[in-house]
């Protein structure tokens, strides 16, 4: 069955406290010069009909009000 990856991330301009927390932790670990960290999530799936994935994302995997998503099919 065709595989797909769905990447979901907070919309531009929405405060992402997870990303901020990661960013703040970096200097203590010796990583310098890294900024604008944003944390999203990735969903792996197999779909008989990849054409239905956009609707699936809009209805369930992402909340279009607060999140953007990208679908990568293989």
């Amino acid at each position: 069955m065709p595989r797909a990856l769905v990447l979901i991330r907070p919309k531009e301009g929405i405060l992402d406290p997870q990303g901020k927390a990661v960013e703040r932790a970096l200097p203590a670990l010796g990583f310098e010069g890294i900024e604008h960290v944003r944390v999203g999530r990735m969903v792996e799936l197999e779909a008989e009909d990849p054409a239905q994935l956009t609707e699936l994302c809009e209805k369930l995997l992402a909340n279009p009000l607060i999140e953007d998503f990208e679908i990568e099919s293989f």
Binding site: I14, Q18, K20, L65
Partner: protein, 223 residues
């Protein structure tokens, strides 16, 4: 009057909500998430907790349950619905209320008593509310994902429509919510959601009975 309190796998405040409904007047029963019939129900509470483990996003899975489909029909028919904490998240995910609830700005779970300023809670014409705009209610808040957010133009619209039911009192916003919003209503006024927990403020022994007044207002909100 018969209240229906939804129960999902992972709900945890449904029993306090049952008690609050009974104290507010009337009978109350649990509505299991697989149940589709609300024929005997006059008002619905979607309670707090972690429905379906809050997997994916808080409320994202619960909105597709048979019970929530029934609640959507119930709300469309003018039935009063109160969503508390996770219930508020579920109602937003189900598009029964505007906006979304995001991770607290502080990244911390908050658990504290907060003062809520009543924005607008007047039920539609022909009904009565015991709560007046401008009043302050003392209600406990406990959540990790309670930061109310909506695009600026949506915030302007819900303010203009009088849909802001509650705001955190100045200096008490516990989660970074936009414009200090703690609770909103739908346009018709029969669906109300808030992050703080009125069902935990129903007995003087625990410091406040203000929560009962919110249940009273919901009971009168049929449109």
């Amino acid at each position: 009057m018969m209240w229906g309190v939804l129960q999902f796998p992972g709900s945890c405040d449904e029993r306090d909500a049952l008690l609050a409904c009974e104290l507010a007047g009337g009978e109350a029963r649990l509505v299991w998430h697989e149940e589709h019939g609300l024929d005997d129900i006059d008002a619905v509470v979607v309670p707090g907790g972690f429905s379906y483990g809050d997997y994916l996003r808080a409320g994202a899975i619960a909105r597709f349950s048979p019970a929530m489909e029934a609640v959507a029909e119930f709300a469309a028919g003018g039935g009063p619905v109160l969503g508390i904490c996770n219930g508020f998240q579920v109602l937003c995910e189900a598009d029964l209320l505007p906006g979304a609830l995001l991770l607290n700005e502080s990244m911390r779970f908050v658990c504290r008593q907060v003062d809520l300023q009543v924005g607008r809670l007047d039920p539609p014409e022909g009904t009565q509310s015991s709560i007046l705009p401008g009043e302050t209610l003392s209600i406990p808040a406990k959540h990790g994902e309670g930061r109310y957010w909506a695009p600026e133009e949506m915030l302007d619209a819900i303010e203009a429509n009088g849909q802001v039911a509650f705001r955190y009192a100045p200096g008490q916003n516990p989660n970074g919510s936009a414009r200090d919003i703690a609770g909103v209503r739908n346009e018709a006024g029969n669906v109300l959601g808030l992050m703080p927990h009125p069902e935990h403020a129903v007995d003087a022994m625990t410091g406040s009975t203000d929560g009962l007044r919110i249940f009273d207002a919901v009971a009168g909100a049929r449109v």
